[in-house]
Symmetry: C2
Subunit: 391 residues, 2 copies
């Protein structure tokens, strides 16, 4: 039984070359990269090579600016809490947006006992921040701006470069959660003018449980995981070398194949957008038409529940998601969708379709055919839909 | 070229069964365990099985008390910082010892802006804490005691059960760093009376970059990695499923084979201790003769530098270490060895020999023969040794 995977935002399969590199690493039994004997030095070299690959993918000025972490979430915690802890004397205010990942929102909340306050900026109907709003929110007490590059539920991409100019001018540290962008769309940390950038390996077909944090040289930030002198003394804990090796290979391939992947995604997303009205009606598109990930589309289908659609599609062996996998099980409507101005009912009717390099045009058509049946079935039993039709 | 590995404390090779399980996991391309579709549920089940295996290894009352982390260091940060953040109203004092891992020491230091203070208890010549000293150090303001189970540089095991009785009586949260004990010696969290216990996968031949934290039900602790609702809402970040699967298999095998491994280690360590005086003289044993890990021996060889010994043994393809791999590169003498009362000179002459299940008696003899030559060579050029011989 083959599943049509349109839920790549939750989990990507590993590339064959990544699998091969990880299996080789498993069989090699590398020593601890911190050990000073020959075996340790060999492991340290392998770790360094992966760091170079990742640095190149985001155009970091030096591989030393890359810290390997266990996830995008750890990278974000490191950036947000680490900057706050290291700049207590400078100020107690952070600027962020209403559509950030919970890793950002909850990390900021965790700083409350240190008297940190945050200003959270509202977004437009696609979830986009206006750079001027960021400028207006920055005060003398502001130490950091944390705004995501792309949203994991809508795919909308923020005007990071414009915000970077503002933070640079106002001398405020700029952290960007680019977990769903790095390796998917071109990211150049120098051109964007960011100080810290969080990312993860799985969005570009590396293993889960491995991430990275770019820390521009000279940025004042403390570790979130204190301990040994690993990662240039920026993050304690023996490295997940097998995972890091996989991430390095995935980074090389993401750089090499990015243009081809982007073209592939755009073709499939265009097909989906073009064909969608031929299969269902009465839906909203939450993804920005221009500034968005090429592999993600969020739609809110009126009068029905996204979770029911997801489960019925699952019966047809089609995987989609309704929200961030990190928030599964939460009973509350997605804070991201509510921030776009969606009603609770429309937010509940949301589906996230996220494409992968393995998807084919026929997957899109199979999804649309299945979706049509599911939506018709659900609307037939929806009291909301009946009321609307009678009106 | 085969290396004789007597540096298992820095890195253990993976067991064949662990390798097999991880390679299978790589080839399976599991979905995100948080996803609600069929593929996600399958991944969640695999994650749950590994959690059961780990819970069983430490006799946790429920698998729900286990949180998977990225390392022993993360587990320790989670415990120390998480308890402190969650108990701000209750008190601002922590009791610890002078020989803890830097993950504990630095996590406590990081709490200074929250006005936390710590009392650090001194140890005997083998690095052992006296339980009464812990009792004496606890005040009304104390919220937590953090004492390690075994020390990663000396192998000495602390009287955890006795301390557990004290913390229970005084109603103080008890965290135990058992990173180098879990899976090596029997650990029963219920019998020990601990509230939190940090551990890692590699000491029992699972992969690096995977650890766990036992949190007794009802213990007040916040996450150190805030974000999604993974790990029963106790730790954000998509799981390192491949590593966790390996850890689960390693836990099953550690439970099954523990007695045989212990017997094997004891035989080799006895041989090492018996034969040592036949090869070198003028050394100190830092490891407790009775209460210590069966697979680790710390010796301080007079008049020479441990690092030189380590590098010369490396030329003979024998790997040992001189200190915690997490502290490699530090120019300061090990805080653990200084706490035992060693002089700086003796501390610099320290070697850590850590045994693995793959070691044979002939490895011990080969090491001793090589060590004899190395020590003789180094002492011949040591001004300290000449002075001592003339005295």
């Amino acid at each position: 039984m083959t599943i049509i995977n349109l839920d790549h935002i939750s989990s990507n399969p590993l590339l064959p070359e990544v699998k091969k590199s990880m299996i080789e690493a498993i069989n090699r039994d590398y020593a601890n990269p911190s050990s000073q004997h020959k075996a340790g030095e060999e492991a340290a070299e392998v770790l360094d090579n992966a760091r170079q690959s990742v640095a190149q993918l985001i155009n970091s000025a030096s591989a030393k600016e890359i810290v390997f972490t266990s996830s995008g979430t750890e990278s974000i915690n490191h950036a947000v809490k680490g900057v706050a802890m290291a700049n207590l004397e400078k100020g107690k205010h952070i600027v962020t947006s209403n559509v950030e990942h919970n890793a950002v929102i909850r990390s900021i909340k965790r700083l409350k006992p240190l008297d940190y306050k945050a200003t959270s900026i509202s977004v437009d109907e696609y979830g986009r921040v206006t750079p001027n709003d960021v400028a207006d929110a920055i005060s003398d007490d502001t130490i950091m701006v944390s705004i995501m590059h792309s949203n994991n539920e809508t795919g909308t991409i923020q005007p990071i470069r414009e915000i970077g100019k503002i933070t640079k001018e106002k001398k405020v540290i700029f952290h960007v959660d680019a977990v769903d962008s790095v390796g998917v769309v071109p990211i150049d940390v120098q051109a964007l003018g960011v100080d810290l950038l969080s990312f993860a390996s799985n969005p570009f077909y590396g293993p889960t449980g491995v991430g990275g944090l770019y820390i521009r040289r000279g940025t004042r930030v403390f570790p979130v995981l204190d301990g040994g002198i690993q990662e240039n003394n920026k993050r304690g804990g023996t490295e997940n070398l097998i995972g890091i090796i996989g991430m390095g290979v995935a980074a090389d391939l993401a750089g090499r194949d990015m243009d081809a992947r982007l073209a592939h995604f755009r073709k499939l997303k265009d097909l989906l957008l073009e064909e969608l009205p031929n299969y269902i009606d009465e839906y909203l598109i939450n993804t920005h038409p221009e500034f968005s990930l090429p592999n993600l589309l969020s739609i809110s289908i009126k009068y029905i529940e996204g979770e029911s659609v997801m489960l019925m599609l699952d019966d047809d062996d089609i995987a989609v998601s309704t929200r961030s996998a990190c928030a599964t099980g939460s009973l509350r409507a997605s804070h991201v969708l509510i921030s776009l101005g969606l009603s609770h009912a429309d937010a509940q009717g949301t589906l996230v379709i996220s494409l992968g390099i393995d998807n084919l045009e026929q997957d899109i058509i199979a999804f649309l055919q299945s979706l049509k049946t599911v939506v018709t079935t659900l609307r037939d039993i929806s009291p909301l839909y009946k009321k609307s039709s009678q009106a």
